[in-house]
Assembly symmetry: D2
C-alpha cells in the first residue's frame, strides 16, 4: 500500500451534510476511504471513456440448446484469447447457462466483444461490468 | 427454445428509422432478436427493482497485501454461501487481485453483499452487474 | 475447528526415523498435522472406493476447432448440472482450451462423467482429481 | 487439427483381445482415438518427469475459519502469480471452501506450490492433477 498523504478540501455545509448521510447509509466507517473510492470510480470511468487498457467482466445468460451456440461463443472467445483472462461457467438448470468472462484490454475491444456475444441468438442477456486493471487506483 | 409467435407493433416512421440505424450499428442481423433483447433487458431491470430473485456478478479489484482483507472477504462470502454460485480469482500482479463472484438471490441481498465488499479498506473497485436467473426471459 | 484430542501410537524406531525424514522433506513443521493429513488422504480414498458422495475436479484439454465439440461438452455437462458446481475455462492459445470442472456427487458418477469427456474426439487429455466434500475430514 | 497418418503396429493376439475389451468397456467408439489417448497420456507423464513446462490443477479443501489461512493461501498464490492462470472458489458450506487452481509452469514448481498449500493448517486436502499445455499432444 502506498503511504497516505493529507488532502484538505473546502466544501459547502449542505454538501458536507449530504455526504455524511451518504457515508452513514453506505456502511463505510471511514470518510477518507469513501472519498478515495469516489475518486477511483471516476478514474475507472475515464479509463473507459479514453479507451485505455481496462478490465471488464461480461456476464452472459444463454440457452445452450440453441444449436451451435456453444461453439460460436467459444470461437468468439478464442479470437480474443490474449485478452480473456478466465471464463467461469455455471449450469443453472437443464437449459440455462450463466457465464462470467474476465477480459483485459482496450475498453473499445471489450465492448465490442460483449456486443458480439449479446447479438447471438440464444443469448438471453449480456451485461458488461466496467472495471480497471488497477494501475492508477493506488 | 419456446415456439415463436408473431407480434405486430405500430411505430412512427422516424422512430423506426432510428431503430434500423441502431440495429445496423449494433451488428444484429435479426430485427426481431434485437427487439426481444430490449424486452428482456426491461424484464431484468424490473426483477431488480422489485427485489425478485436475480443473478448478479460482482467484480472486485483489491490489494491482497492489505492485512486481513482476504480473510474478511472470504468470511463475508461464506456468510452468503447459499447465494454465491462461484468465485473466480485472478492474480493480476504481485499486489492486485481481481475477483468475479456470481451470486443468485434477492436483488437487495446481492446489492448489500456488493456494498459490504466495496467499503473494505484495500478494495480499490467493486462493481455489480445486474443479470437474471433467466426464468422469465424465454 | 474441532477440539484436538491426544492420540498415542506405538511405532518402530526405523519407521519413526523414516517418518521424520519425510516430514522434514515435505516442509511440514508440525508432525501431528502431517499424520492427520495421512489419515484424511485415506478417508478420501475410501470415500471413492465405496462410491460415497465425493468431490472431484476434472481437468480437460481440448481443441475447440473440433467441430461440434464445445456443444457436446456443454450438453454432457448439462446432463449433470445438479452435480457440476462450476467450470472455469482458460483459452491457452488460438486452438487449445483448458477447463477445470468441479463436480460433487457419487464417486462412480464423477468417474463416468470424466470418462465420457475423455473419449470425445478433440479432447487431448482428461484427468480426474479425487477430492472430498470434507464432511468426514474434520 | 493436424492431418492423420496411418500407423501400423504388430501386436500379440491376447494383448489385442485385452485391448478390445478395454476399449469396449471405456465407451470409446474409435480404436485409433483410444490408442492416441494412450500415447498422449505417456507424453504428459514424461513432461512431468522431465520437469518440462506443464499444466496442473490443484484442488484444495479447507476450513476458512482457520485464522489467517485465506491470507496465507492468497499470499502463496501471489508469489506465483505469473504461473497461476485462474482460481475458482466454491463455498461448500459455512466452514468449508473448495478451490481449483490452474497453474502453468515447470512441473517441479507446480508440485512445490501444491506441497506448500497442503502443509498449511486448516487445509484438509490438497490434490494435484497433472495435465499438459498441450503443445506436444497434437
Amino acid at each position: 500500500m502506498a503511504d497516505l498523504e493529507r488532502l484538505s478540501i473546502s466544501i459547502e455545509q449542505p454538501l458536507l451534510d449530504r455526504l455524511e448521510v451518504m457515508i452513514r447509509e453506505s456502511g463505510y466507517t471511514n470518510r477518507s476511504e469513501y472519498i478515495r473510492d469516489l475518486i477511483r470510480n471516476r478514474i475507472v470511468k475515464e479509463e473507459w471513456e479514453r479507451n485505455e487498457e481496462a478490465l471488464g467482466t461480461i456476464t452472459l445468460l444463454y440457452d445452450h440448446h440453441q444449436r451451435g451456440l456453444s461453439d460460436r461463443l467459444t470461437d468468439l472467445q478464442h479470437d480474443h484469447h490474449h485478452a480473456i483472462l478466465a471464463t467461469t461457467h455455471l449450469h443453472l438448470d437443464h437449459h440455462l447457462c450463466a457465464e462470467m468472462i474476465m477480459v483485459r484490454g482496450r475498453a473499445a475491444m471489450i465492448r465490442k466483444l460483449a456486443d458480439g456475444m449479446r447479438k447471438e441468438k440464444g443469448v438471453l442477456h449480456a451485461e458488461l461490468s466496467l472495471s480497471s486493471t488497477g494501475k492508477k487506483l493506488r
